[in-house]
Each structure stands twice: as structure tokens, then as C-alpha cells.
Symmetry: C2
Subunit: 159 residues, 2 copies
DNA sequence: CAAGTAGCTTGCATAATGCAAGTAAAGATA
DNA sequence: TATCTTTACTTGCATTATGCAAGCTACTTG
């Protein structure tokens, strides 16, 4: 119910706008799971490495829906389930998230964690750092999600 | 002194890494002020539209320094002052911030704030949305900051 | 019809942020 | 040189955000 308070913006700066909308500990993690990993249900989103608490997940999903970043629809096959998917506005977060990946991957502190992702995923991360112009890739990512898929779908199936 | 607790990362995901390092309410605002507006002193950073509290600013500057995003040097002309400037790692935040601007500027909620920036600044925002490949611009921005300048220096002087 | 599963809520603890007042050291002013 | 101002903070306390564990209801599965 509560979670993020609905207070007026601190300024009209577009940087500040994005910070106030997006910069909490969980909103972008959830968007990553939907956009990159194709997680669509509450329980799928709950059982991830970062171990979000169930009350926080509920409040964040409500928030993301209110902000127009995701929509929820009842699962036609199982009336207990709701399916969450990204809106166009949510899909527009992909460039931000890709640049975050590039930033992390460029600096030693992240490598010190000895990250152990799937091979295809790590390949993608390396490309995020080295590629001069990431926009062709980003556009492909967006199209995938618009068509009901997710960014890592080929990687998860294959390797 | 306190502020951000030094707890272990929730996962080895590079998205999560960036979120844990950067996603609080103030770190990126301060980096914006340094990178885009050339703010270098404590009092300059304090007196901005978002009205950061003085204790938060102090703790965030300490944090950003510990994370290697900024360095502080004593002002040779005034021994009360310290000058804060971005490191290369801090400069690497520019693409993230630019994509945040593009995200905000693309969607109605931000425009509903009726933002009133300087003309040159608004021009830059519009370009951030429309330009297909932002990397040439981003590279120019980085060079400017590396050379001791800041992104809006031409705009602030002119209009 | 009993046992699980999915998607929550509730209550309480800790951490992050916000506000106001105060302070010491350095520089500016009379 | 004595006073006033500026700069970069700290301290104490209030509020908001996040974290943890337990419980709960509608639906599905065996």
C-alpha cells in the first residue's frame, strides 16, 4: 500500500526526474527481471538472487504499474496468477540499464565479485563495454520485448 | 560519517551492482552538478534547486570519494575550501545520465512540470531524445570534463 | 477434499533521509 | 586587531524506506 511517497518533484531537471522515479533499491531490479529475463509472475520475481522481500515486491509492482512502466493482466490459464509486462515507457529503460551494465563492467570493483553468468550473457556484457555505438543492439532488444519476448531469451534456452 | 552501509552485494549482476552503488536519492544529483554544471565546492553543491540537506551532502561526498567517483583537493586560493572533481570513473557516469535525460524527456510526466531551463540546455535535451547515435556527443562531453571543464559551460556563459 | 501454490497483508525492526541548530577555522571588513 | 562573514562541516532528533517473519485467502493439484 505505502512504499514510495507521492511527494512533489524537488526540481524540474530531467536528471532529477529520472532519479526520483527510478532510483530506489528495487524498481530497476524488477524491470531488469522483466525486460532481460522474461520474469512475468509474482513468484518468479520473488525468487531471484537479490532476494527481495515479499511486501517490498508487492509495493514496488503497484508503484511501477502506477508509473506506467508495467501492466498486469490475469493469466488466462491460471486464475491465481497475474502476468506483468513492460509498457513502451518501461521498454525505454533498456538504454539506461545497458549503460549501467557498461559502467559496472568497465571497472574493477565489479570484476572483483567474480561474476559467473551464462557464457552468452558474459559475451553480451563484454560487448556492452567495447561497442562504440550500442544503439543498434539496444533497438534489437526493444523489438524483442515489444514482440512479447525478452532480451536473454536465446541465451537462456541455448547457453 | 554514516549514510550508506557497507553491506555485501545482493548478487553479482552488473545491473544490480550499478543500482547498489548509484541508486540513492542524491549521489547522481551531485555527480550531475559536478559533471554538467561545474559545481566544485561544498556550498555550490549545497545551494541547488533540489535543496540537499547539509549532513546528507557531507556523507554523500565522503561516499563518492570512497567509491572513487570524485576526488577532493584543497583550494590553493582559499584554505577553507575544498574542490571536488570527477574521476574517470565518475566521468563514465555521463552516458547513464544522458540516457536518463532522454528517458525523462521522452515522456509526458516530465513535460507536465513545465521545465524552464536555459535555451541552450533545452536544445540539448531535445537532441538527447531525437539523436539516433548519442555517442559522439557523449564523447565530447567526456573530453570537456577531462580537460577541467563541464558539459554546460558554453551554455551557462552564453544562453 | 486435503495439500500445495500464488499473491498478497500485517506487525515490527533497522537503515536512509530530512530538518534545525550549532561549531571551528579561515578570510574579509572596519 | 577586533569583529563579522563565509565555508565546511557535526549533532540530535523526526520521518520515510527497506527488511524480516508470520499469517491469510483464492485457486489449483492430487
Amino acid at each position: 500500500m505505502d512504499g514510495k511517497a507521492d511527494i512533489p518533484m524537488r526540481s524540474d531537471c530531467p536528471v532529477n526526474f529520472a532519479i526520483e522515479k527510478l532510483c530506489d533499491k528495487w524498481s530497476l531490479v524488477i524491470m531488469r527481471d522483466i525486460l532481460f529475463w522474461g520474469k512475468r509472475t509474482y513468484s518468479d520475481l520473488l525468487n531471484r538472487d537479490e532476494r527481495i522481500a515479499t511486501n517490498i515486491l508487492a509495493s514496488r509492482l503497484e508503484y511501477l504499474e502506477n508509473e506506467g512502466l508495467i501492466v498486469r493482466t490475469p493469466d488466462p490459464n491460471d486464475r491465481r496468477k497475474e502476468l506483468f509486462e513492460a509498457t513502451e515507457r518501461g521498454i525505454d529503460l533498456i538504454p539506461i540499464i545497458v549503460e549501467m551494465v557498461a559502467w559496472s563492467a568497465k571497472h574493477p570493483d565489479w570484476h572483483a565479485l567474480e561474476p559467473k553468468g551464462l557464457p552468452g550473457q558474459m559475451r553480451l556484457v563484454r560487448r556492452a563495454v567495447t561497442t562504440k555505438n550500442k544503439y543498434p543492439t539496444i533497438e534489437k532488444f526493444k523489438e524483442k520485448v515489444r514482440n512479447g519476448g525478452y532480451i536473454f531469451e536465446d541465451i537462456v534456452e541455448g547457453n
